[in-house]
Subunit: 317 residues, 2 copies
């Protein structure tokens, strides 16, 4: 049973507002012409820490009592959630312990350290991550905040769709990317509460196609293989995010890395903004399924813009 | 004697408003911390055609009578002015003739053709450009609109500083890049009319250092050598732009290509926006001269975002 109410999301939004930006919603005439519909991009690349993940991380941290906060907060992540938790800890005057795979790019490690967090390295696999975070929680008494398998995090991510629909209330469809499902389930939940007629879709890379399998079977499945430039979307769903997604998402649309690259090029060239490959997966899905979106004013969550600039040469050829 | 009055600029702004975007002014906490001052970026990379040049091109075109417009408009340019004239012609229902060097990248040629303009190729040197445009003007009766040596163009470019100062009226300094001087002279002129106490500076690449020589000697000089990644700033001043710059610009600040690359990286990483190397030259100049700008709320004209994405690998290493 879904535990998150409309009021929970409204309350979360009030709670985190002082710590986040209300990001711009952009539209672009030439991309609309190509897509054959009106698209509204919620630009979370302009968000604090460069990604929407601050919403869930901040909400989870603000849900803790002073007593719980005292010993710090902890997580495992090599991506934007790591920065979100590090940022939240700094804002709330406590310690952050971030378990990162030893293979993490130094640019990401430095960003986390830049917020004053303590980084603990582990072997680059799921079991090692979980063991390392359990150890640090036992040693320090820190509170663990999972990147997406956490109702407080999902509730925070939902505030992004809330802002988008406050700005463009007559959207007929919203498309979000899906990795662990925190953004997608939050988006689907708020859209449903706001107006049950809104269709919510997910864009998923063919090279990390677990959500579509889980969506079909009803239990958390693994991807047959994992290889994609959308490196923020390699995680699998949790029971919690899957439940919401099965209930409130219309469909999951797969796209290839070539289609992701084409959408990425379009966003850089036409919109003149810097975004991660993961976050153009929804645009790629819209461009691949034009008939589905024709005549539907559609919102797209652009989840983040934290890129390693030296990778541009792989993406744009 | 400077021919452009405050009223001319106000009138130009009213005239071109229906054809341009009022672009965003952005500020960024982490770049401010690095610069040691508050910076306000006027984002003309988000402008129609992706650059401020639409302002001058549109104003010049709208200054023509129906009789003058009838036979089309013409220019020589391998850059954003070409797109501006092509766009203006399409908007006003006339023909555009654009002389471009035969070495122009196909991405730029295609952008101009995309607006329906006729492209005439010439040898890649100044004499060939001028001869080709003269020939096409004689053949077609089209009106020639120079990229910057034209008071109507300068008046149009001045509207960018006008919008910036309407949004942030208490700026103490404004920095613009200098190539031919259209943007810089327009910026200096409006800033002077708005508040003579505002200091206007130019950023210029060491690898195209003609404006600084002309500024010092009082006559139009050539650069000792031309080699820079700021490829929009390779042109020399005209008599007209030099006169305004000598009168109203405080100083011209030189920066190296390494400094331009560092500023470019900062804008992509922190602001998450796509800009041309030419347009971060002012930011590079501010970062190189921190003492000069300390405590001065400073505006920066980000002139455009039309980049060839395959060149990222040269810029970001």
């Amino acid at each position: 049973m879904i535990q998150i109410s409309k009021e929970d999301i409204v309350k979360a939004h009030e709670l985190i507002k002082p710590y986040i930006h209300k990001t711009a919603v952009l539209t672009n005439a030439s991309i609309n012409a190509i897509a054959g519909t009106e698209l509204y991009f919620k630009c979370e690349n302009f968000q604090k820490i460069g990604a929407f993940k601050i919403r869930g991380g901040m909400n989870a941290s603000l849900s803790l009592s002073p007593e719980q906060l005292k010993n710090g907060i902890a997580t495992h992540s090599s991506g934007n959630h790591a920065q979100a938790i590090a940022f939240a800890a700094r804002e709330l005057g406590t310690n952050a312990y971030i378990v990162m795979p030893s293979t993490s790019p130094s640019v990401k490690v430095n960003a986390v350290k830049g917020y004053g967090a303590e980084v603990i390295f582990c072997e680059p696999n799921q079991a090692a991550r979980e063991a390392a975070v359990e150890k640090i929680v036992q040693e320090t008494g820190a509170e663990f905040i999972h990147p997406y398998d956490d109702y407080r995090v999902i509730t925070g991510q939902a505030t992004c769709a809330k802002e988008l629909l406050e700005e463009v209330p007559d959207l007929k469809a919203i498309v979000a990317p899906v990795g662990g499902g925190g953004c997608l389930s939050g988006t689907a939940l708020w859209s449903h509460y706001f107006n049950p007629a809104i269709e919510v879709y997910a864009g998923e890379p063919e090279g990390a196609a677990d959500a579509i399998l889980s969506f079909q079977s009803g239990k958390v499945e693994k991807a047959p293989f994992v290889k994609t430039i959308a490196d923020g979307l390699m995680t699998t769903l949790s029971e919690q995010t899957l439940e919401i997604i099965r209930e409130h998402v219309s469909n999951i649309l797969l796209v290839s890395d070539e289609e992701i690259k084409a959408a990425l090029k379009l966003v850089y060239e036409r919109m003149k903004i810097v975004v991660e490959p993961s976050c153009v997966v929804p645009l790629a899905a819209v461009l691949k399924n034009k008939a589905l979106f024709a005549g539907k004013k559609t919102g797209i969550i652009l989840t983040g813009g934290n890129v390693d600039l030296t990778r541009f040469s792989e993406w744009f050829q």
